[in-house]
């Protein structure tokens, strides 16, 4: 079977994220990396391959993003993907969640995967719904936040936590599954894999290459626009203690609790 893994390049966790006042979009300058949640999706694909129950012919990493997003793809390949696809087109800039999901679905259509995996959320946009958008376009069943997945006879038996506790859902393939970060412990890439990643095939595709309707993407094609940014009502910031002498720290915590009559 063929597995496609959706990945995204996001600002590094150490970068202070901010909105560019000129465009109303996230300022993506500065150090960028593979969305950490996506490493769990790649690992899940690798574990299916290595599990041996279901033969996996190919694992393909797919991203949509501006030039420079190759970095995330190289990382994805170093973690196990066989090749990667970079959907990159100025016309896609500023796409909202629905337009992004539509665009990714178009790439996936041309790949015809048996399973699409993605991470539970992106570290930057705080979005965890792209899988559902992609699935509807591909007319595939889908489930998000999956923390356990067993594959047998073209059915993925998935467990995930929802509003009332844990659900177990049997999902027929082909399907779109977003995995939670508890599903596995992603491996570290070997030095050899890191060195070899740039040699693996990386296809760059423009919107027209995969049949994306330019009227449905980008700023103009998106059905929702975000703007009018404002600061939330400010909350008095709390006191911060750096623990240097733990006895002193503890004494301060006790005093703080006493002051507020929180000691039983």
């Amino acid at each position: 079977m063929k597995i496609c893994v959706l990945v995204k390049q996001v600002p590094d966790a150490a970068v202070d994220k901010r909105i560019d006042p000129a465009t109303g979009r996230l300022d993506r300058s500065g150090e960028a990396n593979l969305n950490p949640y996506d490493t769990h999706a790649i690992e899940a694909a690798m574990q299916i391959r290595e599990g041996g129950v279901t033969p996996v012919e190919e694992i393909v990493a797919v991203t949509m993003g501006p030039a420079g997003s190759e970095r995330a793809l190289h990382k994805a390949v170093s973690l196990g993907a066989d090749r990667s696809i970079h959907l990159s087109d100025d016309a896609l800039a500023g796409s909202d969640v629905a337009a992004t999901g539509y665009s990714l679905a178009k790439v996936l259509e041309s790949e015809n995967p048996d399973l699409v995996l993605l991470g539970q959320q992106s570290d930057d946009g705080e979005c965890y719904t792209i899988g559902a958008v992609v699935a509807d376009h591909l007319q595939m069943p889908s489930l998000t936040q999956v923390v356990k997945m067993d594959l047998a006879d073209k059915v993925a038996t998935c467990e995930r936590q929802a509003e009332y506790g844990y659900d177990t859902v049997a999902v027929e393939l082909p399907a779109v599954i977003s995995v939670g970060d508890a599903i596995n412990e992603p491996r570290y890439p070997s030095l050899k894999a890191i060195m070899g990643a740039k040699k693996k095939p990386l296809d760059v595709k423009a919107a027209a290459d995969v049949g994306i309707d330019a009227g449905k993407v980008g700023v103009d094609g998106s059905q929702v626009s975000c703007g009018d940014f404002k600061a939330p009502p400010s909350k008095e910031s709390g006191r911060i203690i750096e623990d240097e002498d733990t006895n002193e720290t503890v004494a301060e915590i006790v005093a703080w609790l006493e002051e507020r009559k929180l000691i039983a």
């Binding site: 559902a132 998000t144 975000c226």
Partner: protein, 324 residues
Amino acid sequence: MSSVLVYALHKDGVINKNSLGAISEGTRVAGELGGQCDVVVVGGADLTDETLAALGNYGASKVYKVDGPEGLSQPVIDAMAQLIKTNGYSNALFGGGLLGFEIGAGLAARLEAGVTMEVTAIRVENGKAVAERPILQDSQISTSTYRGDVGIIIGRINAFEVKETGGTAAVEQLPVDFSPFSLKAKMVTRGEQRGADVNIEDASVLVAGGRGLGEAEGFKMCDDLAEVLGGAVAATRAVVDAGWFPYAGQIGQTGRAVAPKLYFAAGISGAIQHKVGMQGSENIIAINKDSNAPIFEFSDLGIVGDLNKILPKLTEALAAKKAG
């Protein structure tokens, strides 16, 4: 027509509280838009006409009942897409949780509509609903305006207040032709409670542990501290998923929402999905070794340090104080 369609989540014949909040909010917004608020439910015989008619008490005009599998997103997308196409709603609205996110996003794809999630407030401007959503760890609020005919709004958990207005709703059975792919996911078991049944809702002090405890045994430190503080122990999803702590003690978006007098967070980063379940606490203390952890943004007292060093000593000091 500028009416609002709300999806109501349920289990065992009881409608979810966040859905009731969404119905109240949908009714308010529909009122400003000059339309009505209707509700759709998808499920089995446990949804009685009485239960559904009672949604009128939160403002619903009409409740559409669809026979279908519960707890899965795609059958609901089919039902809502059908209703929106025939009745022409201007907005689809969901309370916080998880399923509503999947339905709302899938519906956006189906209808080629805009969707905003984690919404905390809805306003009506120029005859259209606009949605406010906090972004970047709640440091900014962005406003979504919708093009097109339909705007999809997914609320943040507990964002919409439940308001009882009195009244009953008309209940109508709605036949839906489900898409073939919508029936390819099948619920095997729903809402399994993993781990012991711990009670955290009545506690006035909660000591909550996260992944920073390092291992399941780390909860012993929380137990000990909770005992001297006269409280109970709670947890994040990360440690519940890992099997370190029972689901019944989980705080957050897909767990419980609490507002104790004291919330003591140990080794918790402070993700939004956790914050939404505890931000109403009167006093919040956090211990985290990372001075950039988001939890410090909403703590009253933040300790930057190693919980393994601090927790045992703190417990000891409090115990000594009690004894003395």
